[in-house]
Amino acid sequence: MNMAVDLGWYLALAALLFCIGVAGVLTRRNALIIFMSIELMLNAVNLTFIAFSRSLTNVDGQVFVFLVMAVAAAEVAVGLAIIVTIFRHKETVDIDKVNLMKW
């Protein structure tokens, strides 16, 4: 039995994940959830890269995924530290309440 899944399905799943991530960033108000949604976007990117890499039999995409993961980890490290600072000031991570500066 042939278990191979068509490239299109992987891409569709990745696109769906990406859209869920974008929707999360745009609608959620908790800074931590926004960060999780961004991680979801990055995972969608990784899935797309791996799927293409496999179907094109080209290893560059997989190398890219390693770097995306490394950079995402660095970004989260800095991001969480910043969220902690905000929490110390406001006792909340709701971004609607972080509004000292407007227009």
């Binding site: 797309t48 890219f64 800095v78 227009w103």
Partner: protein, 490 residues
Amino acid sequence: MSPVTGQNLAQFTPELALAGGLLVLLIVDLIVRKNRGVIAAALGGILLVALVFISLAGNEKIGEYLFGAVVQDGMTLFFRVFFAAATLVSIGIMASTFKGEGEPFILVLSSVIGMFLLAGSNDLITLFVAIEMVSIPSYVLAGYRRKDPRSAEAALKYVLYGAFSSGLMLYGFSLLYGLTGETGLPEIAEGLIRNASGSPAHLVGIVLILAGVGYKIAMVPMHFWCPDVYEGSPTSITAYFSVLPKAAGFAALFRIVPIIASLKPVYGISAVGLITLVSALTMTFGNLGAIWQDSVKRLLAYSSIAHAGYILMGFAVIVALPAGELHNLAYTAVLFYLVVYLFMNLGAFMVVDLVERRLGGDSIGYFKGLGKHNPLPALALAVFLFSLAGLPPLAGFIGKFFLFAALVKAQMWALAIIGIANAVVSLFYYVRIIRDMFLYDPDVVPVEQDEGGFKLGTLTSVLLLVTVVPTLLLGVYWGPLAEWIKLRLM
């Protein structure tokens, strides 16, 4: 593809020197106890002066190296010199604020490594890693005053928007990779022209990449973070933000121009149309936003958005005409404008920083009567603002003149007219500050006052001179610089 040889690594000298210098700086910062900021700034300054010369001496005919990941051409050389020189001035501005702290300088220099890499990036992977190397230290810098809620808020907005837009950009990268099976930028452009030009995935990929790079240059609609981050960050760091990461975004844009230009119209949307639209929107939004501002720092933030719009006008010509004399003219215009922008914008932020430190705030009230009690900084600020507005005989006029000349020669009348209308609107809010400085009496009396005004330290005087003189000089004697830039494109 060329193997890694000693010769190849030799081309990496500026980046290696920067990384080595950074390590030395970190260790020195651990050892010394007093004046950590002054020492870090001095060491960093020496390193950057050396880098300007190392970069200038670089061979620009090397082409691709390190397996095609990096390219060394005239553009790399220009941006390396530009980044080193601009950081030098920024560090000088920061030295007055951060006398006892070494970390901001270390963060700035680690960001500069990313910029140097970005200047020569020739591959999606290098481009992505370099952009993030510029961004991540910047997030920390924005929130450096962590006791100040505004600084923390600036950092949060910066990091959330930044991570979001890099997610968008990466999805765009993955689509282009899928369409062509390549990660090298020139190969992708070729591949796109050959087989996929005009497919919807191609359009989506390019729009997403533009969004990611557009975030760095505060291009509408990815500009929301810009005024808040600029206002909340410490002013001397805002000066750095307003020039360096922005110029880094433009360096990235230069590298992906061939990919953008490969887009054939899809559903009536063409590459030139896209750039023209964002350019017009960016400058209009920036200028309209600036009019209502009370904080001069925030006003300059909006003005920097508008300036990104002017620079994008040049990109519209570059994308419309992939090669030829006019293409080179637009290239020269954009690079020349970046140099002019470096001096006038850093200078303006430096005076705002000075006023904020001495008088206690940056709203326009603090600038009232500045010309009466402090004629020198007020005169300097007037020069910078007139130059930002684009009045002759200052450098800003020549910069705008080159951009408009390129547009007119390319017969892109609509964009040229929008640009000129914007320049007129911008005059209004720049002149308002100048009027307040010279025609009104002061609201706030300076605390620490000498006969002739603020005690300007040696460093501040030198930096004022370094920014004012080119702003005046490039307005009347622009030939050599324009010629030098043109030669870099050969």
